[in-house]
Symmetry: D2
Subunit: 343 residues, 4 copies
């Protein structure tokens, strides 16, 4: 079985990963590539990494008609633009995995608070499922519209949810100090993102409240039942890919935490819990769909959890494909790398 | 069909790539991992990128017995050490792809000149085949011992051989100015290879004559019939992977060169010839088994050819697997990535 | 007036910066370079950045006699080794700035807890002054032995002390999430520090309790009177220099904090407080002796403070020279760069 | 004596270095900062590395009047724009060091060939002096308009001129394979220059004929009398600063070459010739005004010369200040760093 797939926003960094990974997927095939500003060009002229016939595909414009045969659409577009494409694709009867933020929230009010605009299609909220596969796979499997989680929320929710469910974390003092490679900032021609501006430097950004903080709080509660408040401080690092979230936590029974995560995730193919006291690096997950998690106990009621993902894979394209596998009743692991491309 | 495979020298950078790629290969399976200095450890404790059962394998020592079921051995060991392991594996009836330099030369004298030691097993020379697949695949297919080409020679021979065969290159003035990521220097704890010594810096090394110069000259002649002399100047760059060779060439009929390469390689799955005048970057091949080639004509009888590979894949582990596919009558492309992991 | 200076441990990264900066200092002159393992070599053969006569100096061994004329000794040696050299230099009547950790603590017990060894010269503790110039300059000026603060404590104490003095920070919940370039890990030939291991990666290290946590707690109290407890989580980043500390703080009257720092530091030449809400990057301080500080108010009683230094300058060699200027009654700013080498 | 200085184009990378270095110069003082697109902003808001009063200066627009007191103007503007500002400044009686390409050529025809536009002020050509200090310092000293050499030509001409003068280099086969950090490409918001596009990658660019090739040929002849032809292939590397030019040369008496360079440059404060057979790295010159040169003899009549500079210092701002020192009869070394900021 080969399922034809459309990728809208194919020339951004997450889009590029989708193109590569879908082409290597045994059950999906790239049938349509959309790119707003690059329409009309050869895919290979904008995506230097792809070769062969794939590189010869022509990039379609925003308004191009998606072929009938396409059963699945990935939207890797800026927010608001994504919602419009999603609505169109759903109207044509296609399943959609949306990598933007447009369907990650359940309330138009929170969306408006986080993104500063009125949502163009709030009527679609009720059919969207939040696609954090390890925790929502049953709903994803029967959904036509999956909101792919943000990279920061993914790295933070995976280690946190089992602990919140067990009610062992102080919900008022959750601090997430996150570090991301530059690819998370996208492919726009901005002076701030030039090589020489980011090279050999680190900085915090997005304060006092980064958009992903709302998503973290909404889904921590949505998936665990526990209302939390997050102090989220993201940083941008001089590297291309990779995301590390350091969770500074207080709570009770910290010596049980490792076991709780072990119990939750021991059968998960894409989560690796390191032995207690060992902490992961982003090099260990780069190029893979894994989330690596480590815990260090600091003392009475205090612990640090470190969580690493490849922001473009488990934090974007990989998780999107994991969701798509579920939506099409494929083995969830299909086409997804478990090992990192190291070094 | 699943063929059990042994990888000796599994904890170096090329070895690590072999482990990852063999585990993802549909017809090969990792059955034995050898590591001289790390013997006894869990594979995952030394190779941060691998996960799951693979990570739980125990690294075997240099003298460990390779299981009977193993039909194929990859040796990714230092030169001289490799030859000894190769001899043992052949004696046990196994096929071998050797990633070291030990069987890349046809004369013990040249080997001694290049590597400064007497070869421990010169009697095996006659059965070794140089595994530059695009040019020697028929011999590779019927061989039990394949010498996997060096990374620099791979990047230089692929664009050069068709031109040498056509006798359009001045054979006395071939200049190869090559640039390599740091992973090419290996994983030894040397001050020279520390992050802070290589970061934000570039330097030439290995002059006046790098070992690979002999290999380049020997196989340029061996594969094209034309005796050449190479001025080879390698540089080390502040990046992990990737190799770019700039060939400064003179010759005749330079306007025909692009066509000659096009004709030679148009059906090759792992060679991408860019349109005339366009030049590749290493980002376009990183993570893939491709060699990307571009030509710029400078003027009357002068051209620059730029050739890019991922030094750990097409320059090491990937080409080794390409050879192994041939040796076991598999489709040559099996398990090998055509697209780069970009960005 | 030119004061002859000895630098012991001249070939490490902090030592190299001392050599460069002392040579450019109008009142100090390099008279003696000590290097334990590199003794007998030309300075220039081990320190690639220096040129001219300086490069022709011979590196002296650990037991070499420091010339009589030398009035000031910088010790940039590993802990314990430093203490022995310090004792010798003091016995010869020289002033000493020690860049190691050996005299940063006031109690042998805490030293032993942090460094795991008995202190070789606890009798010298009483004469050592902690050289955080902005807060201890009067004592430094009349001292013969200055303990140069650690890089992490420098970046954390400078923003914190004025707030602790004003009693507006919750002393029980101080979280310091710090990010350092690789030069902070030193110049030893360790596999963990190879280019390819650190490149394109980030990780936390030193948990559950990094040595600098004791220094932070001791001097936060020593300089402000307020006993605090720190949860300190350092990370190593893929860059050579630069250190950014993110302080996650709670407290009272957060809207006054910026003013408190403004008031404390407005006349300090090497501290730059950014406008409220703006946060610094390490690029803004690299190559300078500055500490840049920014504050973002998160909400009721919560704030993030970000502090950036060049770990080899304000976090090591620069601060050491600032201390030495004070010890010799020179203008404190002499020979110290206020602007960063950007980009 | 303090000479007030204007810097036009102060917010580009070379301009930023001028601002920093002039502020640290004992005889020059920053009196006016011009910035076309950033006019009206605080200098510190666009140049993150500068602090103090300097950061509080307001950036003036292109048409702002340069204060009367200013005696020296540095123009670090795009070509063509530079010429217009130069003409204005000269008309006001000021001395000018122009860092653009506008006055590096002696013929409007060559300029037009290299830059594709008609020169706006060819009448000024006759008064411009090419400011390669080591070879033209006498003319520079009495000039009012100095054309600061390009970074690539600087790195190539310094090692080559003494050999051309001695007539020991084959003039028809000079190959310059150059490698530059990304800062050489400037600070424009272009997708090609984004962090993620350049990171972990290397590529050649500017072929078949980069603009600097004309400058190399013109001044090789202008300064040595020998007409040469250059095959120049520049590459961009994943680092911020630094430039390494590899010269692949043939000629006669190669064993004399090291001595010829030694003789030419032994008294030059900013040129370091390494011992024969040793080759420099860009880390050894980063942050300094030095050019480091090494020679490796390959065999009969063949040699490789490697030359390293910091492209923003010896290749731009530093050399510009060296020229200015000469123009104002200051010691040529004033305010210029001889040691690199290493690591």
């Amino acid at each position: 079985m080969t399922i034809p797939v459309a990728i809208l926003g194919a020339t951004g960094y997450a889009g590029a990963e989708l193109v590569r990974m879908i082409d290597g997927h045994p059950n999906f095939a790239v049938a349509h590539l959309g790119a707003h500003t690059q329409a009309g060009k050869r895919a290979g002229s904008v995506l230097p990494g792809i070769a062969g016939q794939l590189a010869n595909m022509t990039l379609a414009g925003a308004d191009a008609i998606i072929p009938d045969a396409v059963a699945l659409v990935f939207t890797a577009l800026p927010h608001a633009a994504a919602a419009k494409s999603v609505a169109k694709a759903l109207a044509l009867g296609k399943k959609v995995v949306d990598l933007s933020a447009d369907f990650r929230h359940q309330s138009p009010a929170i969306y408006q608070q986080a993104y500063g605009i009125e949502h163009p299609h709030p009527e679609l909220f009720k059919q969207a499922v939040y696609g954090l596969c390890e925790h929502t796979r049953d709903k994803v499997a029967i959904s036509s519209l999956v909101a792919n989680p943000g990279c920061y929320p993914t790295s933070m929710l995976l280690p946190l949810i089992p602990l919140l469910k067990a009610d062992v974390v102080h919900k008022e003092s959750i601090i997430v100090d996150a570090k991301s490679g530059a690819s998370g900032a996208g492919r726009s021609a901005k002076t701030d993102l030039l090589y020489c501006e980011l090279n050999e430097s680190v900085k915090a950004y997005g304060l006092p409240r980064h958009r992903h903080a709302w998503e973290m709080e909404e889904w921590a509660e949505g998936l665990s039942g526990a209302a939390i408040r997050v102090r989220f401080v993201p940083h941008i690092l001089p590297m291309g890919r990779g995301m590390l979230s350091t969770l500074h936590l207080s709570g009770s029974e910290v010596e049980r935490w490792h076991g709780l995560l072990e119990q939750s995730y021991r059968h998960e193919p894409f989560i690796r819990l390191l032995p207690l006291g060992e902490l992961p690096s982003t090099a260990g997950v780069r190029g893979s769909n894994r989330c690596d998690i480590g815990i260090s106990l600091l003392g009475e009621g205090e612990a640090v959890i470190v969580s690493c993902i490849d922001n473009l894979i488990k934090g974007a394209a990989g998780q999107a494909i994991q969701n798509a596998n579920l939506m099409f009743s494929l083995n969830e692991e299909t086409g997804l790398p478990k090992h990192a491309t190291w070094p």
